[in-house]
Symmetry: none
DNA sequence: AATGAATGAGATTTCATTCAT
DNA sequence: AATGAATGAAATCTCATTCAT
């Protein structure tokens, strides 16, 4: 990939070239960071001249934004596609988590762009990621709520299955926030030099979350003193 | 801070000046990122001329490294200082977590440097953070191990108390990652329009973590099908 | 004017298309200046693609030259057309001036190209304007000469009517320059917050010019001491 | 002037260097125009590196503005310095005109910047020149008014000296506008290849203006038909 | 007759870094 | 201990111009 410098690029329809450019851009942005990435390098990797990148994507800022948007859409799509509506809430959550970790593991540069680079730099970019995060969080909130209503979380032989009343809506939303954050953080860590396969990451988090959730719903609480 | 331009800085011992420079640098690096931060801005905020920064800290790279090292040391110090040796493992863990979250909340720029900026850029820097992470992880591993031996985690009467062997070091490190991510996410969410007091967020997280951890250590597992 | 982008332009005979392009070019050159004008903008305003502009007009330089030539021709044409040969010299002169000012006022972009932009840039262009200027100057010289011979200028009963020899060609050209400058300045001033109707401005200038000219031709001179 | 490339410039105090830079900038801007002038060329002519120009003058735009301001101030200063308050209005006007033409002839690049380049490009710049022009115009307005009151303009043997009542304030201001415009235009023309010495230009204009003014004040009017 | 795709060359601007005092 | 003066190198972005259809 990335044609030799000085060789004229073969003619291609604009839509295709734009995707190639964004592929290259995601790769470079993901590894170098927004500032350290150079348009020269991106153009070269895309196999075209710099002016063409500007002609199609206008500026470094817009290019970065376009990358964020595309990768955010791809990620949420991957998660949504993995879920089969009929299943129980825990199975849906598991499927979603697994898809999330698989997708981020398979597209580490894209994930770096979304999770690290976009957040590191100011306001045009952070908002894009916030939108994606909100979509995911809303989804998880829904699932946790459903799980609570179904009484699914493991009540190992013990009493009050389904005492979901103790989990207020605010708590549920908070848990969803925490879960999404945990997943994001784990994904980044897992990608660093293959410390954890996607499935293992999903399992660890699911175990952690599900047993924890179960405990909470049974009324278990930890407090200092 | 940040002396008026053109006014000659008062003579100060080198050690003090270096700290001022690093204060400024952490502030700027934390907000702008490594690449976007400019030595000009740092020098101005420190209230000295640029050549003095170079005289004392040699280069941007070394300055950044020095910042990372100092802030990593401060963070681990804060965590260690919070722990009273005599206490039960769960209390120690709680105290450590609280100190960690307090310190990072009170020093957001430092935390940004450690957590975001240092990882975003290549190899001279990442290693510094890895060192800190290893120190903290070892500490947590020790505490969890101790807790497991003590049988502290909740619902102790139940099943296999003390089957701590099932939590490999790798899992512990992963959980730490997840916790940090969850905490950050919660913090961001809580700050946004006062949805949750910071204290409540910490409590929710600890409950979540502790019951989850307890469940895991009792051998509870979630698995598909 | 300026077709919507992406819509294929209707086929038109070359001559028409060239005029459209030059219309657009004069507009853009007149407002932006030669260097700041971009071929992109010109092509878009003309409603055609850039390669077509190059096909017909070869280069930016040639396009600019073509604009200068066309507008110079239009201006001299307008002046000549206004004059009815039978009239007295002063009436002819008045008619010419009026036509000149009317045309330039009605075609400000064209006038900007001729008066400002063409002179600002090097040698291919200045020569074009010089040619026009010489044509106009020759014309005015002739009329003033005629007026002098006719003894038209005011207060004819007085002193040395017809001492036109004292006005060298160089003086006439200088006066033309001064008149143009005065007219432009007056025009700008009159337009600004309606301080003076355009007509009044022209009358004031003509009075000023004509009486001054008359005085000069009668041999009146102002000199220090 | 304009040190050889690659040779390090000798150290100089900032104020001096700034003037050298502006000298070079006026030269280049005046000949090439704002857009065609390159910061590279300006820096080289000034004998310094480009970054130093930016360090001191911030941007091309600010550099251009600084040039305009400096040259406008110099020109108005030159005109004002030439006038001796005690003299009659016509002598003052003459002295001012002569100084104006001399200064513009001696500083053709500066005059090009003020008269041609600054007006050719948009709004940050035009305003600067407008201020200068207004100062000069106000001055001339005052002198013409004074002349009218003194009844100075040549009343060659004829009747109504001092019929200044016929020149309303608005007319006087209009004449001043025209005079300043004429002078500006003449100055540009005279500079082009030495067609007219400064003194001759002043004389021509003074004759033109003074006799014309006299005629107007005697009630002479030209009107079509 | 007309255009979508593509680029070489050069513009302004920024930044880490050094020198001389 | 401290700084004003200065720069090499590289970044983003623009533009006139051509090629293939």
């Amino acid at each position: 990939m990335g044609a030799v410098k000085g060789v004229k690029a073969k003619r291609m329809p604009r839509a295709v070239r734009e995707q190639q450019m964004m592929d290259a851009a995601v790769h470079i942005f993901g590894r170098r960071g927004y500032r350290a990435a150079s348009m020269d390098e991106i153009a070269e990797l895309a196999g075209v001249s710099k002016p063409l990148v500007y002609l199609y994507l206008n500026s470094k800022e817009e290019l970065f934004t376009a990358c964020i948007r595309r990768e955010a859409a791809r990620l949420t799509e991957a998660v949504k596609a993995a879920i089969e509506p009929g299943l129980a809430a825990d199975r849906q959550l598991w499927a979603g988590l697994e898809a999330f970790f698989r997708h981020t593991a398979e597209n580490p540069d894209a994930w770096s762009v979304l999770h690290r680079q976009a957040r590191t730099h100011g306001e045009p970019f952070a908002a894009e990621v916030t939108a994606m995060r909100e979509e995911l969080t809303a989804f998880v909130t829904f699932l946790i709520g459903a799980a609570a209503r179904e009484g699914t979380p493991p009540a190992p032989g013990t009493a009050g299955a389904g005492r979901s009343g103790e989990l207020a809506d605010r708590d549920i939303e908070g848990l969803a926030q925490a879960l999404v954050g945990a997943a994001e953080s784990l994904a980044g860590w897992a990608n660093e030099s293959d410390k954890l396969a996607a499935k293992d990451a999903a399992a660890t988090l699911m175990n952690f979350a599900w047993t924890g959730l179960g405990g909470l719903m049974r009324g278990e609480r930890w407090s200092p003193r």
